[in-house]
């Protein structure tokens, strides 16, 4: 065991402070320390993306980041993207287009897709497939995930700037700026 560090994080808009060993992986910080269990653990070697969160405006794999590295960071997880009364268009589209089955990859998928659409609001199918290639799904074969993201993009573009502003997505834009 090593000396514990004083860590400060902002997670889904909420400030958090605690003492942790520097080797604590961000994914365990979220899941076990903060009870934010949306992001999952799939491969542990940064291939599957089930642990994807947005950290300071970047899509990152929380399995491959020590909490010490994340000290001071602003983190958004699926829980910060939308809830029962504030569903993000991606959350709606994944249900509408059957973009999930067992649901294990879904939080990481949606979190990654949100960032992708921020950077490329009207992606082609090819751009979606390339932009989502850091997230593995074992159930869907991706076809309906691609369809869901495309549908969400259309929905978000149609809504335009007057569309709904999810708490999470708004914060993302600010963080990216």
């Amino acid at each position: 065991m090593s000396k514990k560090m004083h860590i400060k994080l902002t997670v889904n808009g909420k400030p958090e402070e605690f003492l942790a060993e520097p080797r604590e992986l961000l994914i365990y910080t979220l899941r076990e320390r903060l009870n934010i269990t949306g992001p999952h653990i799939g491969c542990e070697t940064s291939h599957c993306g089930a642990c994807t969160v947005t950290l300071n405006g970047k899509s990152v794999k929380a399995c491959t980041m020590f909490v010490a590295q994340a000290d001071g960071a602003d983190v958004t997880t699926i829980e910060g993207i939308g809830g029962p009364d504030t569903l993000h268009p991606l959350q709606t589209a994944f249900k509408e287009h059957h973009g999930l089955q067992c649901g294990y990859c879904t939080p990481g998928m949606i979190t990654r897709a949100m960032k992708l659409l921020e950077e490329n609001p009207d992606p082609t199918e090819e751009e979606i497939r390339f932009g989502m290639a850091g997230n593995l799904c074992r159930c869907t074969g991706y076809q309906n995930i691609v369809k869901s993201i495309k549908a969400a993009a259309s929905e978000m573009n149609a809504a335009g700037s007057s569309g709904r502003e999810a708490a999470g997505s708004k914060k993302e834009v600010e963080a990216a700026e």
Binding site: S2, R23, T45
Partner: protein, 284 residues
Amino acid sequence: MIPAAFEYHRPKDLDGVLSLLTEHGDEARVMAGGHSLIPMMKLRMADVPHLIDLQDVAGLTGISHSDNTIRLGAMVTQHDIIGDAKLAERAPILREAALQIADPQVRYMGTVGGNVANGDPGNDMPGLMQCLDAVFTLVGPEGTRDVPARDFYEAAYMTAREDDEVLTAVTIPVPRGGYAYEKQKRKIGDYATAAAAVQIVKDGGTCTAASIAMTNLSDTPVYSDAAGAALIGTSLDDAARAAAVAAMLGDIDPTEDNRGPVAFKIHVAGVILNRAIERAWARA
């Protein structure tokens, strides 16, 4: 997969990094994006009692341009490279290569400095930087020195960098002519089965300069001077390309792994290089 415990350091400047390296010697390692090191630590294949995180160190970020050179701070990420319009215009091969590295999430974290410094023969940037004749800036307790990329790699994970030095920047002469980064891999996120970086200058239908480097076909990246030389003065006809490929094959020394046996890798290396040359020539 849980790594062994370590002390974490996040210095604000290079002096801080250097004094930590001096203090802890080979017990200390610097970390940029961490996407090579952290999985190794989790698998307990890398033991790092003192981890020095470079994220707050001033002066390691940013892409700067001068008339003849481009300087990439060690902490410039693959994502930064892909998104930099001026870089895409002046050295488009960097973007083409960066897009073929790992996956989107990893590219947000993976840095140029980390990719070139750790000496993993599977990394793409080392070969690319050899092709571009980049110079790596190393800062250590004795001061600053520049090492050409073509002289930097000694063996797998063994480089010209001393344990107490930090790689701070990569500087490349602005590339001229046509380019191609051609990579065969099993899937997104994989290392190359074979990859070729090619820059070619064409003048009136004749090749006047050519630079060729290969990735993951030896325990270091392979800059093949002879392969480039085989193209110069030719119109890049079949014979010239065949000569370049033959020259390159004389310089590589692949080993068998899950991607395939040696004979396959040699064959694919030739095919990939030939295609890269053709593509670069078409763009020259």
